[in-house]
């Protein structure tokens, strides 16, 4: 365990965060701290704003026409939405894994090498090889693919594709990894593998995961935030949220009365 993980400083901090898609408001005044070295789970019913919040952190919402963000959102104390922030640089620090595995239609190797290549992280081929191998290993995929690194990434199974996407994300050496329902398109066995991976990764990365499954949130996260209708209802240690929720809404969701 790293000492930095336990000191509890906020890696990502939001204050009064509001998001609008055109006329429609998707987030209402969210105050939330995400600590480094922990897995933070965002849960809540569909359309509650948890994905919207996640996509604010690396400004993927910029790609949506008419999206507008108010309030403050900081990474290590720096405003993410500051005018002079370079989204390209931001996204190198805040990686993302998507709901559906989306490997590029390129070889496994090129998928992982893509990030380091565009960011100029490897001085030579040997270094790039090393990054690719290390990333694949960290993603727990190396054993399965090391003999076919030149085959297309789209030829892998769903679970392997998702772990490839995780390898692709960590090859850029991000500080934060955002995961948007990373297991929703996977079968239970593949899900178990990815969850295991998430647990291993939390030593080195700050992870924020959006999930539909409360069991998953309970399994992989240390802290959980519950969103409802664009508002943050409750935030706390995972154990506390699931065993002793403070808010009736949270309780209702956890016990399956709606959702």
């Amino acid at each position: 365990m790293n000492t930095a993980n336990t000191n509890g400083t906020a890696k990502v901090r939001s204050r009064g965060l509001e998001v609008f898609y055109g006329e429609k408001q998707a987030l209402f005044g969210v105050d939330l701290d995400i600590r480094s070295g922990e897995v933070t789970a965002l849960i809540g019913p569909s359309g509650c704003g948890k994905s919207t919040f996640l996509r604010c952190i690396n400004r993927m919402n910029d790609l949506v026409d008419g999206a507008k963000v108010n309030g403050s959102l900081t990474l290590d104390g720096d405003d993410i939405y500051h005018r002079e922030v370079d989204v390209v640089q931001l996204r190198a620090k805040v990686g993302m894994v998507f709901q559906k595995p989306n490997p590029f239609p390129k070889s496994i190797y090129d998928n992982v090498a893509y990030g380091p290549r565009i960011h100029g992280m490897a001085a030579d081929q040997a270094e790039l090889d090393e990054i690719v191998m290390t990333s694949l290993e960290k993603a727990g995929l190396l054993g399965e693919v090391k003999d076919r690194l030149q085959e297309s990434g789209t030829g892998l199974s769903g679970g392997q594709q998702q772990r490839l996407c995780i390898a692709r994300a960590i090859a850029v050496e991000p500080e934060v990894i955002l995961m948007d329902e990373p297991c929703s398109a996977l079968d239970p066995i593949a899900t178990a593998k990815v969850e295991e991976l998430i647990d291993e990764l939390r030593d080195n990365y700050t992870i924020v995961i959006v999930t539909h499954s409360m069991q998953q949130a309970a399994r992989v996260s240390q802290r959980t935030a519950f969103f409802h209708l664009g508002k943050l209802i409750e935030m706390g240690d995972t154990e506390q949220i699931f065993t002793n929720p403070q808010q009736p809404l949270t309780q209702g969701y956890i016990t399956g009365r709606f959702g």
Partner: protein
């Protein structure tokens, strides 16, 4: 950062983020460059469009006016060669050209030699006698009097007045002789030269003389052709679309039809011209140069367009409508004719108008079936030989006279106005009936 996160070799002591940051400047420069290249491609394409339209407008707008020359004409029966007869037939065959020449000689008495006289007469168009014939036919009382007429000037005069050819005397290659230029200046000084709206352009057929050549024949030919095209391709196209989209079973036969339609859409139009020549003209013995055959060939060309647009429009009607109607006990055909077709009609019509616009601009296949002949008369039926607008453009573009460059551009302007109107109609139709399900 702990050691275990360090993917990058120890040779570089910077963190990943620092390394990434060090490359940012270069990468953003590449980004800006790429964007600029993309924008310049758009700009180049737009520039060409602008240049094209500018050239056409610049050359063609002046053709909408025409130079006229004022002349006092003595309508003596002797010169007209009609004696005491005042019958319509005598008036129709009278020598108006001679009267005009005589008036010109009187206007410029200095012209004495035969060559000079010919040059004087050459200032006025050989078709100027039409104005006199019309005036006398309307009012035979004018015979024997002297009247002032505004007569169409020759195309060489027209070009000089419009500034396309030099009016400086003593220059090599002038279309007007120095004497003619002098007379023209004299006429102008007396207020005897004017530019009026060019009604000839919109009322006559083709002519060898640029100042007498008009578009009306080819406009009528185009209208006849398009009517035939519409009458043939619209019902066939809609019927095919309905069959394929609503009735056809999914089998080899319908696959074959579909492949066929897609292929036909890609066949060069000149090949359709060969089909028209071999089948309609040679095999079926239809008349050459007729809008009937042109319309049939164009119908085959735009059939795939209408079918494809029709199918898309039918497909856009949601199945719930069909189910609702069928649930009320409507037969399959009733479902289509009562519900699906009316809802799809705006889309079908839009596609049809666009197909017609395409047919209006089509030239090559019509050349094959003889619509390239020189035709002076305005066609009275789709069986009469005729030109169409784009073929008229082609024919005039081939003519050497400077004045035909202007006429060609004017013909193009008229053609483009028709096309713009049709496309605008299609857009409005689409806007008006746009429906979101």
């Amino acid at each position: 950062m702990t050691e275990s996160t360090q993917l990058i070799r120890s040779s570089d002591t910077r963190t990943a983020a620092q390394i990434a940051a060090s490359h940012l400047k270069r990468r953003h420069a590449a980004e800006r460059r790429f964007k600029a290249i993309g924008l310049s491609a758009v700009v180049v394409a737009m520039t060409f469009l602008g240049l094209l339209l500018f050239t056409i407008l610049g050359n063609g707008l002046s053709a909408f006016t025409q130079t006229y020359v004022k002349l006092d004409v003595t309508l003596s029966p002797e010169l007209l060669g009609i004696g005491e007869q005042r019958t319509a037939e005598a008036l129709a065959t009278a020598d108006y050209g001679g009267v005009i020449k005589d008036a010109m000689y009187k206007r410029f008495p200095a012209a004495q030699s035969r060559a000079e006289k010919r040059e004087v007469a050459g200032l006025i168009s050989s078709g100027a006698d039409m104005a006199l014939r019309k005036a006398l036919a309307a009012n035979p009382e004018l015979i024997g009097t002297t009247q002032t007429f505004w007569l169409v000037a020759d195309d060489t005069v027209d070009m000089a007045i419009k500034g396309y050819t030099s009016r400086q005397t003593g220059q090599e290659g002038n279309r007007l002789s120095d004497k003619q230029l002098g007379w023209l200046a004299e006429l102008e000084a007396d207020g005897g030269v004017t530019r009026r709206f060019n009604s000839i352009l919109f009322s006559s057929g083709d002519s060898r003389e640029p100042e007498l050549a008009g578009l009306w024949g080819s406009v009528v030919g185009s209208v006849f052709s398009l009517l035939i095209t519409l009458a043939v391709s619209f019902p066939l196209g809609v019927a095919t679309a309905i069959y394929l989209e609503e009735f056809a079973p999914k089998n080899k036969w319908t696959d074959l039809i579909e492949v066929n339609i897609n292929n036909l859409a890609a066949v060069p139009s000149v090949v359709f011209g060969l089909l028209g020549l071999a089948v309609f003209l040679n095999f079926l013995g239809m008349p050459r140069s007729a809008p009937l055959v042109g319309g049939l060939v164009l119908a085959l060309i735009c059939l795939p367009t209408i079918i494809i647009a029709g199918r898309a429009a039918l497909k856009a009607v949601p199945p719930s409508i069909r189910e609702a109607a069928a649930g009320l006990g409507a037969s399959k055909l009733q479902v289509v004719t009562d519900h699906v077709l009316p809802l799809a009609m705006p889309g079908i019509l839009t596609g049809t108008i666009l197909g017609m616009a395409h047919a209006l601009g089509e030239t090559a296949p019509l050349l094959m079936i003889g619509m390239v002949a020189f035709i002076v008369d305005i066609p009275a039926s789709p069986l009469d030989p005729s030109a169409v607008l784009p073929v008229q453009v082609y024919l005039w573009a081939d003519s050497p006279e400077r004045a035909f460059v202007e006429r060609t551009s004017a013909a193009i302007i008229v053609l483009l106005i028709f096309l713009a109107a049709m496309n605008l109609g299609a857009i409005l139709l689409r806007k008006k009936f746009e429906r979101r399900w």
